[in-house]
Amino acid sequence: MADLGRAALLLTLGLSVYALVAGAAAAALGRRRLAHSARNALYASFLSTLVASVVLVAGFVRDDFSLAYVAGHSSRDLPLQYKLSAFWGGQEGSLLLWLLILTAYASLAIWFARRRAADLVVWVTPVLAGIGVAFTWLLVAVSSPFDTIAAPADGSGLNPSLQNPYMVIHPVFLYLGYVGLAVPFAFAMGALLSGRTDERWIVATRRWTIIAWTALGVGQLLGAHWAYQEVGWGGYYAWDPVENAALMPWLVATAFLHSVMIQEKRGMLRVWNVSLVGLAFCLSLFGTFLTRSGIVSSIHSFTQSGIGPWFLAFVVIAVVFTTVMIWLRLPQLRTSARLESLVSREAAFLYNNLLLVALGLTILWGTAWPIVSEAVRGEAVVVGRPYYDFFLRIFGLPLLLLMGIGPLIAWRRASLRGLARVFVWPAGVALATGAFLILLGAGSSIPGLIAYTFSAFVLAAIVLEFARGTAARRALTGESVPAAFGQLIGRNRRRYGGYVVHASIVLLAIGVAGSSAYDSVAEGRLARGESLTVGDYTLTYRALTERDGANATEIRALLDVRRGGEELGTVSAGKNAYSAEQQVSNEVGIRSDLLTGEDLFVIAEQVRDDGAVFFRVFVKPLVNLIWLAGLVFVLGSLITLWPDAREERRLATRYARAGEPADRPAT
């Protein structure tokens, strides 16, 4: 069966090379059938990659340990869902997943755009094919999932710390995000290659960008939740290089999402936009390189593998290609539209972009610094948490404020008086909230207080927008409040969906501020009957239990929880000892208060033979808002993505009439 897998990948390589070469030739020479053939090769490459993937899945399901990859990541008694997720449990399988998603996205994007932007698509095909060639080459020549060995009796199994539902979904979402950025990138490059200065590439890729961006965001939140609940060190983000590898392209993609709106409305920032999308994609590739090459020591560190140098080469090629294309097309990209005022929505979006890119670049610098310093000074220097926290605040807090200002400020130019009128209510709410919070003791952390105050401002602005819009609609149509509200959102999906997404980011900010600036921690060794106080809570260690589970011995310490004299139940924390893998995992106990969103987070760090346990306990205020924010985020994205029949018709008319002679055969 490995033969079929290998053959399928070789086919993908051949098809991708053909799509690249034939596609480029067809575009340069203007050959219709060759262009069609190149597109078909791209679709076919998805089919052959799918076959290879099915072969690998079958190998896992059938316990085919003659495949080295299956033997290395699975075992007979592994539950089915983990056998399936073991597909991407290792390097070779991850690359195959990358390629599968790439060819799928590429085929779909090209299919949907083939009529409306035919002359753009002829150039997009070779770009997407080129990316495919890179990954397929790695899979065929450097890191194949179909290497065979003499089949052992049983496989090595999956690390217990990876046997949880997160392993099934977190990598998939991240990849849907990373790879998804290739689509707007390819369309942008296609536009540059074809010498077009119209905005079809943006219109064609708008939804793809949002889907990729949403997936990348959700993937990161899933990873954070995994770290919080399963790894259980008391936090959800460690500024680890692999975590940053996903955050950087996400930040740049966020900037891109906003600046394309400026191009759509005012025709400005064309050079900036193609640069941003190039940067986002290159960061996505670079992030994959960082994760795979073992070049930066990280909690996720993987061995020094042969694909590191190759990936670096791909990143360099992508950067050079993008830069050259932009430079060549610079004259055509320049427009006469100008920023008229530093106080306008265009300016606000520009500030937003600058802050996001600045944050992304400082994270990049911090992540790459060990490599750079080793090369330059012979000594790898690692930056710590304070570096990242500092810049997150310096850039993040103004960004938070801008989220409230941007949507309300006028296009072109806004007078300060006009601004004052629009912002008087949200500012008032914010100041009142700030004062109230100081009374509650939030002044203990200035950044936290600022974050809360700005969040109040943004939320008030958003609520005001919904209220104003509904009222305006009612004045026009006389509908009832719910109907007007629904119609308002339905007819302005991008705007109001965007507001919902902003609200989710505000929730995220509140959750992060609360759980990091206002948390409490206490630790100590307790014998049975002894208590520990943290924040408002008192925990009393009652009993220690030991239970033999499916593949591990589960040791749990039970604690009674009280707060302000009220009994709140019990929480248990402990460890699982996996006999087969000779490993111990931390099982934290979390008690979530649904009313306040705060978590009592208990780690049983050390269990002594005499039954005494060393506990480390956190109180994390508002931390559950972070997970709620994830749900609101997805809701907002869905609203903006929802197809709008009127918009579709308008675009169809515009592009269909882009001069098609009567005798042109349908492609």
Partner: protein, 135 residues
Amino acid sequence: MARSSSPARLVVALSVAAVLAVFLLYTSLAGGGTPSVAPSELDGKTGEVSLVGRVVGTPSGDPHGEGLRFTLEDIEGKQKERVTVIYKGSVPDLFRTGRDLVVTGTRHGDGTFVTTPGSMITKCPSKYQAADSAA
């Protein structure tokens, strides 16, 4: 393009300058970070460093008491050296003999490496590589 200096260019230039200024200010005040060294590179290093190595031998002691004592060896290289580490604070689950880890601290006069509490990070083993059989 005939119009001279639009505000956009000015804004971008000033912002870039501002960001660089903030960045330089921070790094000069807070220091550039801690060097990452292996046990064989510890000689002569004063101040806080990030020690990277593999656990060898049997750890002993109480991390929440007088300290967990264990030995770290270079992960790679021909001249492997060892250093005794005294660690207090949370010990990650994955800690065991044979595991690679990073810990921050300073070298003391008696040759031991004393760590900043809670600064141990173990590397996620065998995630993208086959686990050692019967490890």
